[in-house]
Symmetry: C2
Subunit: 145 residues, 2 copies
DNA sequence: GTCGTTGCAAAGCGTTTGCAACTAT
DNA sequence: ATAGTTGCAAACGCTTTGCAACGAC
């Protein structure tokens, strides 16, 4: 399953006349293997475990590329950007502002939210692009601030 | 009205034994005067118009201070952090991912959204912390991606 | 006189860019 | 052989930090 999505990405790149280097292959593999989101830094780290010496700039360039091609998208979390598969875009990030734990909404919820906003405003939100901050169940006990 | 909120902030700082320097006064004035959000950079610029020579580090330190004290909060927009008055927290940022225009939800809408998320999950979202990305009315015409 | 605050300079980080060497095709 | 790709080093922009001078109280 990961193999197949990897493959379709590789095919897509190939069809654009782009080249498959070991670095790129490793990056694609790692990105597709990460369910949820991953930061450029930890991606770089994991990639280097496969292909030692891969430069951060290569990771950044590849992330940009994969985003242009429509395979990935990124989100802004508290500590910078995180990338995720576009197929996972029904995945909304919920970050607890108190304990830092992360959770996510999935499936139909985002759509319902989107519709709710869209109905009342002429704005079609993509709730996956930025995270949603708030208090998780455990942290709701004590009032913040 | 701006004068009065400025005053209450100054009082708050004073009550904590903090000192009122002209730099700090200018920063407070500018922050409170900005409806909506403001970036550290443009804040610094505006402050320098009042008190020439104010260093960026002073602006950052003061923003941190005002946030600790509960006067300000920040949001993550596409191009970095933006600060806003905490009293404005019913102000949800809507950023168009296509044309970059910004708009905002206000009043009851955020509450309705919050309730919707809270009802289905044990998560109490603060929709003001991160912006919500999407397509504005004008950009909805042509399909993105 | 104290001790919080400031400006300055330097360091830190994450990210981008120019470029020559390299390599997939 | 051609043109895309990489690593390296340098440049960047934003933010943080150490520190001595300064200034509010």
């Amino acid at each position: 399953m990961n193999a197949s999505s990897d493959q379709s990405v590789l095919d897509l790149l190939r069809s654009r006349g782009l080249r498959m280097t070991p670095q790129r292959r490793a990056i694609v593999t790692e990105v597709m293997a990460s369910n949820g989101h991953i930061s450029p830094a930890s991606l770089a780290e994991r990639v280097r475990a496969r292909v030692p010496g891969v430069d951060p700039s290569t990771v950044y360039r590849t992330l940009d590329l994969l985003e242009e091609v429509g395979v990935l998208s990124h989100t802004h979390l508290e500590n910078g950007p995180e990338y995720h598969r576009l197929a996972d875009s029904r995945h909304v990030h919920l970050v607890c502002s108190s304990c830092g734990s992360e959770d996510s909404l999935s499936l139909a919820e985002p759509d319902r939210l989107r519709d709710l906003v869209a109905r009342h405003h002429s704005f079609a939100p993509d709730l996956t692009h930025f995270a949603i901050s708030g208090l998780c169940r455990r942290c709701q006990g004590r009032r913040p601030r």
